[in-house]
Symmetry: C2
Subunit: 232 residues, 2 copies
């Protein structure tokens, strides 16, 4: 029995495309657990690994010339991470929560994918989706007010986390634990920690949501939250 037999994301991740060759593929990778805060890949480093997320959440981040961090993506179970067919990793990949990933050597992975067009097609689909998502986020960073950014972030994450939940559940969550702390939220939104805090407080004051503890969000008035988020 392999870890894949009980893998939570086997039907959603990249490997779901494989039929009989799955056996072959899984022998190439291995599961790894990452404690919260551990960095799996470094920006600019020779890109040696790719991976599927099995459990947890990780962030992709880069630093601007003067050292400011910008988070350029957050990934969840069944998402793919790493940069195939390229020499260096374009960003850091760091665990936001304790996580489990299924890693492959990049060269081995590249070789396998090139021999399995179905899988390469799936990878292309994922990459196109990621690109759409990244470009949507550019609108947020380029054009939205702090209030809109925070609202959009909450709407987005409540939807993404819903897909992570056991089977079927797909309605956006009304109560969830943020995998990011305030500083990280600020780094996603291109704001400062103080501004994020103020906007969250304002939303709480207006009864749009509650913050029972610093990691938990309860959305009470999704309609209003979405109205603030506007862009979509």
């Amino acid at each position: 029995m392999t870890p894949c037999d009980v893998c939570e994301v086997r039907d959603y991740a990249l490997c779901a495309t494989l039929g009989l060759e799955r056996e072959q593929f899984i022998r190439l990778g291995r599961q790894m657990t990452l404690p919260k805060g551990r960095t799996l890949m470094w920006e600019g480093q020779e890109s040696m690994l790719v991976a599927n997320v099995v459990e947890g959440a990780l962030m992709l981040s880069t630093c601007s010339g003067d050292g400011q961090e910008q988070i350029v993506g957050v990934v969840y179970p069944s998402d793919f991470i790493g940069r195939p067919f390229g020499s260096e990793s374009p960003h850091n990949v760091t665990a936001l929560t304790d996580s489990r990933v299924c890693v492959f050597s990049r060269s081995v992975f590249d070789g396998f994918v090139r021999k399995h067009p179905e899988m390469e097609h799936h990878l292309l689909q994922r990459t196109l989706d990621e690109l759409d998502r990244a470009r949507k986020w550019m609108v947020l960073l380029g054009r939205m007010s702090a209030e809109q950014r925070v609202a959009t972030f909450l709407v987005d994450i409540s939807r993404r986390l819903a897909h992570v939940k056991p089977e079927g559940e797909c309605a956006p969550l009304e109560r969830f634990a943020l995998p990011l702390d305030r500083q990280q939220i600020a780094n996603v939104l291109g704001l400062t920690i103080e501004t994020v805090s103020r906007q969250l407080s304002a939303l709480k004051r207006d009864g749009v949501l509650a913050l029972p503890d610093r990691r938990t969000v309860e959305i009470h008035d999704r309609k209003r939250l979405e109205a603030i988020a506007q862009a979509e």
Copy 2:
């Protein structure tokens, strides 16, 4: 004789991957000229076309909920545009200058690509590169000052335009015509037209560059420009 026989980008665009099947492929597409300002695809519209850029420059743009435009990409000859394997176009595609593109029906293109893994691989490579570029731009939008944004924009475009030039020439250009007007630059950088203008004036005042007319840029002190741009 087909237009492809004299195509300027035949060795760089997606079709360069094809060997003997090239003949087959080119029969599926047709060249089109687009006057400056013409929109080829609309955001949200059913995605019917994909295309290669042969000549000119086009922008990809989306609107935030309250109608503000954000340019999420600029494409040049040999670049690929459109959203294969997806139902709707995620952004507008509009000619910045008079342009020539080589268009394909999306369904026909999708079918062809699925049968030609080499081509699909090339498309994946391009998409991965675009994703890297988009994420780099997120740092600019999230973390850079107006001055840094304008400087970064100029450094970037002078490099991109160099690759468009006839054969070989790859050093960044020190003198070039902007394919975008001030409003469009503002929409790329997430700034207002006034701020862009002020920053350009400041760079001129400091002797970093000259602006002989409103479309032309002459970089006099690239070192300094790059120092201001910092992030990279």
